[in-house]
Structures are given as C-alpha cells and as structure tokens.
Symmetry: C2
Subunit: 481 residues, 2 copies
C-alpha cells in the first residue's frame, strides 16, 4: 500500500494518520495484514520503534488487531464500508445550513466599523482607548499577581466574582463615585462588553427596544444589534442626552454615559438626570449607566453617579478597569438593581462560569491597599500633561481650523473641523497618515449623519513629546489640504 | 430642615446624600437658603471643611447655587417638582415587568441541581472537579505570571486569543491528542462553559435541537436549556453514545465526550465514531467533542480525538485547563471548523472582547517551555496514586457492596451500589456526611432515571492519606445502613 507522510507533527503521528486514512478510505480493507514493523520502517525510513508505537496506537483505537505470532491486521469496522459509500453519495447539508440568527445579525453588525480602528502601525496614533503605558503600574501589577498566585484558591471562583473584590469595588465607588452599593449587587465581569452582553441577555428578547445616545460606542451598538434588539437613538447636546426626545413607545433599556458622554464629553445635567430617572420609573424601563472613564477629571468636582440618585432601583451601573488600569486585564464590574441580582449571576455563570480568580484577587488587594488610587493620581497627572500638550499643539498648529470640545475629563478630545466637508476631512486624515500621524474621524460613532466633520483625538497612548511632534505634523498636513 | 446622616461612607458623602434627598423630596424647595457652613457644621457635629466640601459637590452637580456674599441656595430644577408628583402618582411598571425569556429559562434550568454540589465543608469531600493541589504548579505558575506581566502588551488582546497561545495549543494537540489544527481554527475561551455558550449562540436558534448523552454534565444541559434549545438525550453504554439511538429528526448539534464519557468513563468505539461522523455529515449536524479530561490516562495508549477522524469538518473540539491545571484559571479552547472561524470570533468579541492577556501569555510560555507537560506527568503520577488508594480502599471497606466502573482515565470513578434502593443510598450519603465524608450520587447527571443507585467518586481534591481515612469511614457508614 502506498503511504504518504504529510510532514505535519511527529513521525509517529504522521504514520498513524496515514494508516488511518488508508483504512477509512478502503485502501486497506479489513483483514489486510500490515507489513512487519521492521519492513515498514525500512521502507519509509523510520525507526522501528516509531512503527511499533504507531501500530499500538492504532490497535488501542480499534483500527488494527494483533494476532499473536502472525502480525497486525486491519480490524473489521462494522457497517463502515457500505455506510461510507452511502454517505459519500449523499451530499451533506452543511453548505446550505445557516448559522443562528445571532450569528447572521452579528455579521450584519460588523459591517459597521468601530471608530478608531486601524492605523495601529503609525508612530503617532491618536487613537482613543490606547492605554497609558506606565512602568510603575507594570511593576505594581506584577507584584500583586505574583502575590495572588501564591494564595488564591485553585478552585472555581464564585460566579458573581470574589467577595473581596466585590467589597473593594463598593468601597471605591462610595469614596470616588458617590455610590452606595452592596457587594451582593456587584457582578465582576470582563469589562464593558461583557456587562452589555449580559444585560442584553437578561433584559431583552429579540425585537425589544433599546435606546442609545447618538453618537455612541459602536461596540455597544453591535452587541445589541447582534442580540436582536431594536435600537433607537436619541441625540445629545451640551447637557447630555436630550430627554425630551426619548421615544413614546417605551424601551426596555436606555443606555447613557452621564458623567462624560462618549464621545462628545458633555455631562448629563441634573434636571435631565431626574427626568431620565422619572421616565424609567414611569415606563418600567431599565437604565444602563456606562461610566467608562469617570476616574479622570481635570476641573471641577467629580459628578456623582446617576445611580446614586435613583430612588427606584432601575439603574445598572457599569465600570471598567480598561481605562483606569489597562485593557489587557479584561476586568470590570456591573452594579445591578436588587431584583436583578439572581438573574445576572445565573447569566454570568452560564456564560463563563466566572472571571479568573488570581486576577480578581490581585485587583482586590491593589484596590484595598490604595495602590489603585495612587496609580489613578499618577495617571491623572500624566493625562493632564498630555492633554495640555494636545491643547497647546492644536492652538499652535491648527488655530482657526479646529474647534475643541473640551470636556475636562477622560482620555480624548473632540476637535471639530471648521469649514471642512467630508472629502477635505478624508484628505487631511490621509495627509496626516503619510506623515505618521493617526487621526480618527468622529463620524463612525454616529448612526445618523454627524453635524459636521470632526476628529476624535485620543491622548492616552502617546507621550507629551510624541503629541508635540504629531501636532507639528498635523500643521503640515493642514497646509496641504 | 431635619437632616439625618445614615452612617454609610465618609461624613461628607453622608451629608451630601442627605441634602440631595431633602432637595429631591421637596423638603428643601428651590430658592431655600442653606445654613452657613459654620452653623451647619456646629449643628451636626461635623468639621466646617466637610460642610464646605459637601456644598461644593452639590453646586457642581447642580443642586445648589452660590450667590456671592449671600450664601448657598437650592437651585431650581426645571420640571422636577411637578413631574416628581406625577411620577409618584403613577406606579412604575417595574414590578410587573418580566425578564427576558433567556432569564426565565435560566431560572427553570437552575431548578435542576449540579451533580456534586454542596458538602464543601466536609474534611473528606470526594467531589468530582476539585483541583489537585500542587505546590510545584503554584510556584511555576506564579513565575510564569510574573514574567508575563512584565512583557505583555497592555492593549486589548485579539478576540480569538493571543497568537502565541493558539499556536502552543495546536502543538500540544498534535503531540498529545493526534489532532492537526491551524491556529486560526482555535478560539481561546474561559473554559468549557464559555465554549458551550458560544456554540449555542453561533449555531442554535431557540427551538433548535441539540443531542446530549445521558448521563451528561449538568452545566452544559443548563446552558442549552437557558439558550432555548430543544434538548434530546441519547443513552450511553460501554462503547459510549449509542449511535443507533440518534434521533431521526436531525439535531443541529450533537454533544459527546468520546475519549472519556462523562461521567461513566466509556470510550466511544471506532465503529461508533465513524457512524457519528457519517450521521453528522449526512444530516448537516455539528458535533461538539468535549475532551474534558483527556490528559490523564492510566492504561493503554491515549485515544486520538474524534475530530482527527472528521473528513468533513463538522466537529468542534473543546478542551479546558480546569482539570489539567486548575479551575480558578478560567481558560480553555475551542477548535472550530473552518466555516465557523469568523462567526465564533465575532461571538467571542461581542461577548467579552477577549480573554485576559497576561494569563494567556503565561500559559503560552508554560506550554511552549514544556513546563505544562512536566506538570501533567507529575499530576498523572499523583492521580494514579490517589486512584490506587481509592480502589484499594473500596476493595477493603466496601467489597461486595460497590461495583466499580473503572475507566482508566480522568479524576473520578463511578461506584454502583449493589442491591441499594434510593432510600438506602441517601442513608449511606447521610451516614458518610456525619463522619466527615462527602459522597455524591450519580443520579443528578441523568435526565432519565439512572439504572440503579451509584456514586461519583472524585479523587483529584483529596490526598492518598485522606482517601484511606475516607474509605475506612465509608466502611463504618456502610455498616449502619
């Protein structure tokens, strides 16, 4: 029999695979006597041990039978040969079989691109969401992980998250976000995306209505669209979500970024906060409060979380460590109304069984020891410097052209382009790209048409020096378009 | 105005909360002048700084207005008072609002208990799934984590998983499981549960049919039921899934444990492997191969993965590190057919955005450096000793009563109880519990009635010495029932 080894993996694995294929294809019918191991080894240039081991493997799996004193024979495989011919004559239904509706909707949702994608190869990429690199944090986190690895139980963690981390999150929220929460209200998740996906699963059936702000975070929109929700959008102005525009047909869920609208930066005003809470209470809607970078503010007092004003327990509060620490961590939390504790724990357990325990233990200790808040102070100082460099650079190199929407918070600014049309914006982005500067339009964040061309300038992932160079090159790019 | 501090959090937070509540309830109507900070501080026994800071916080959030020279006044909140009265008159729809159908089905699914739950407080808990504690592994893992923390990019990891880990998984599968896979076929997930939940989302609409073995892993059943799938079961015998009993109405998905049936331990025979693959090919069904503890075998050659025989690319192969390493890690992998690569990546990204990157990097290096396989050899040796202690203890203390179904693999045995009825089995479990020994019936793993009373004896989480004591006490318990 002709055996061809395919060169993938060990020689034994190749031989075993080749022999199986020959048996299954009928080239070695049942009852065939295989060559003696020494002979086959010589023929194929293998060691005899390799052939013997392969024969043993095939015997253990039922392909061969050894008969004492007379060698190895291909085993009968009842029903195989006739059935294999039938199966080959019947084309499998695989090609025509559709994926689930979820998978089909997901594919549709991915046609809408994420804002700020691509351009990762440029030396000066002003992309929103890039982490602030920070050697002190790397050192501290490494220490916490090593410590946690030594004492964390190797068993399954609680589905809702470790009790120490849930308590630490509550302490932090009370101190920094004016939010009183019970550790039993907290669910540790892998970040905003998991919080949104779980909320969709627990609260929404396909066809149910969700309200998003417009503009918004595209990955959140994708999650709801893939889930099958009917997404309505409500515009945003300088006071945040325009509550008067909330739909008359009440949604099951309203998603807002009240502390720092994404991406425009406005703060939801007190009258609107109260109006939104009333709306949710009257219509039986839930509110998802995404506090995606509430940690970093550069002026004024921090604004308490919307949830802290909610007398009727309709608000789900989502926080992430992707901005406050770094996205590779994949950790965040969801504070849920009391009525939703149990359904969310079940949904989390059904989905992943729980979040990695050593990471959780390390984070709990980092928060409890106040290392986290020390890091936040350092990070806020670094971000403040970067932000100042960006504002100074825009004043120096783009005065009169860009109009900055300054939000006193976060890790990005919105720069509207005065008197630009889309073609000129695209030309600017291209001219900047040719100079190594990654600029990202704000348009993908809008489901409707944006009011005018503008850029979303992230400063978390670039140093002050890099920002200075990037702004000078932006000035050159502006001179060409 | 009467202000009561609630004692939760800092004094400033308490005062701010009390003042907000008074404003929102109308006890401090708009235009009301607040007491001077010094006066209020004296009245409430607070420092004046606390009161001033609280007033500033309230002003920033829009509750108060400061007028130069004349103090702080409650701000007008347009529309609040009248609207609040209307809202109070309208009972919220919250109480009557149902959760999603997913959440309702999840609640139903959780009525069926997990096998082996509870009894965690007992000193000799023979629960399946408890990890093998291993100081050498803790040390090695701590070192890998610390190393990975220092060099892993802090940015979002790829949704499918880090390329180094996917490649390491493919090397491992080729060497140990006879499985040739392309790193692009691999999705890093948090374990079997996430693999199952993602498969349900990508492949099944509510109402679609799934086949599970009976008995099976209850958490998998729960995931499909919560997803809304129609679950059919097919019995298992000494050759694994009885393929002739596969339903005539073809399911979208057939879930099997071919290397080591859970929990009975049988190995799916070669004729049935081929029959199952033909069935899937002819009917356009997918197969989910759960290789939950394929790493540990104590006799005979390892059996190659079912997927390695699949010429038509219908098999999803699931592996977990919960048994080979430890469950707190929350890491596993899914090898998918080529046609499903993209939908699974999308589903994973929509669900969690990706698996924690430092953990992935640590695991990739642990596998590449062969530290993982060194650990597996040590762990297999330790498990072999435990298994021998369990078998010896059963022979000594339970001879004639238990009939062991010995599977030559894994971290548990099934012990059928000869001549027991359910009442006597329950009495035995209770008598053992009273002696500190945790015994777990096999019945919860069955959706149908089990053939007779039996126990699922896990030996991963108990030392040989503990097993010896536990068996002696089992003997005492048997003497009482």
């Amino acid at each position: 029999v002709f055996l061809e080894l395919d060169g993938r993996g060990s020689r034994q694995a190749q031989l075993t695979r080749a022999l199986k294929a020959a048996v299954l294809a009928g080239r070695l019918p049942s009852g065939t006597r295989l060559p003696a191991s020494r002979a086959l080894a010589g023929e194929l240039g293998l060691s005899r041990n390799t052939v013997t081991a392969s024969y043993e493997e095939l015997a253990a799996e039922g392909f061969l039978q050894a008969r004492v004193g007379s060698g190895s024979f291909v085993a009968p495989i009842p029903g195989h040969e006739a059935a294999a011919q039938r199966a080959d004559a019947t084309p499998g239904a695989s090609a025509s079989q559709p994926l689930s509706q979820f998978a089909q909707r997901a594919r549709e949702a991915y046609r809408r691109p994420l804002a700020g994608a691509g351009l990762g190869e440029l030396p000066f990429n002003l992309q929103y969401g890039l982490p602030l690199t920070n050697p002190a944090l790397t050192t501290a986190w490494r220490r916490e992980l090593a410590h946690a690895a030594a004492y964390t139980s190797p068993n399954y963690p609680e589905a809702a998250g470790r009790a120490d981390l849930r308590a630490a999150v509550c302490d932090y929220l009370a101190r920094r976000r004016g939010l009183q929460a019970d550790p039993d209200d907290v669910l540790i998740v892998s970040g905003t995306q998991e919080a949104v996906a779980l909320s969709a699963r627990v609260l929404l059936d396909p066809g149910d209505r969700v309200v998003l702000e417009d503009p918004h975070y595209v990955a959140m929109w994708r999650a709801f669209v893939a889930h099958g929700a009917q997404v309505d959008t409500v515009p945003v102005d300088d006071d945040g979500l325009v509550c008067e525009r909330l739909p008359d047909v009440p949604p099951r869920l309203v998603c807002v970024t009240p502390s720092h609208q994404f991406p425009l930066g406005s703060v939801l005003s007190l009258p609107r906060r109260l109006a939104l809470l009333r709306y949710a209470h009257m219509h039986g809607s839930w509110i998802l409060e995404d506090d995606y970078d509430g940690e970093f503010r550069y002026g004024g007092a921090p604004i308490a979380a919307l949830r802290s004003l909610d007398a009727h327990d309709r608000t789900l509060y989502v926080g992430t460590f992707s901005k406050a620490l770094f996205p590779a961590l994949r950790m965040g939390y969801l504070v849920v109304p009391r009525a939703l504790r149990e359904p969310f724990r079940m949904a989390k357990q059904l989905s992943t069984f729980g979040t990695p325990a050593i990471d959780q233990a390390a984070l709990a200790r980092f928060i409890q020891s106040r290392g986290f808040e020390r890091h936040l102070r350092r990070a806020a100082q670094a971000l403040r410097t970067r932000r100042a460099a960006l504002l100074a650079g825009l004043r120096e190199h783009a005065a009169g052209v860009v109009e900055v929407r300054d939000s006193q918070a976060g890790m990005h600014l919105v720069a509207w382009l005065r008197g630009f049309d889309d073609a000129r914006q695209d030309a600017l982005i291209e001219a900047a790209r040719a100079r190594g500067v990654g600029l990202h339009p704000i348009a993908p964040c809008y489901l409707s048409a944006p009011p005018r061309p503008g850029l979303l300038l992230g400063y978390g992932g670039v140093s002050p020096k890099e920002i200075e160079v990037a702004m000078a090159r932006l000035g050159q790019a502006l001179a060409c378009v």
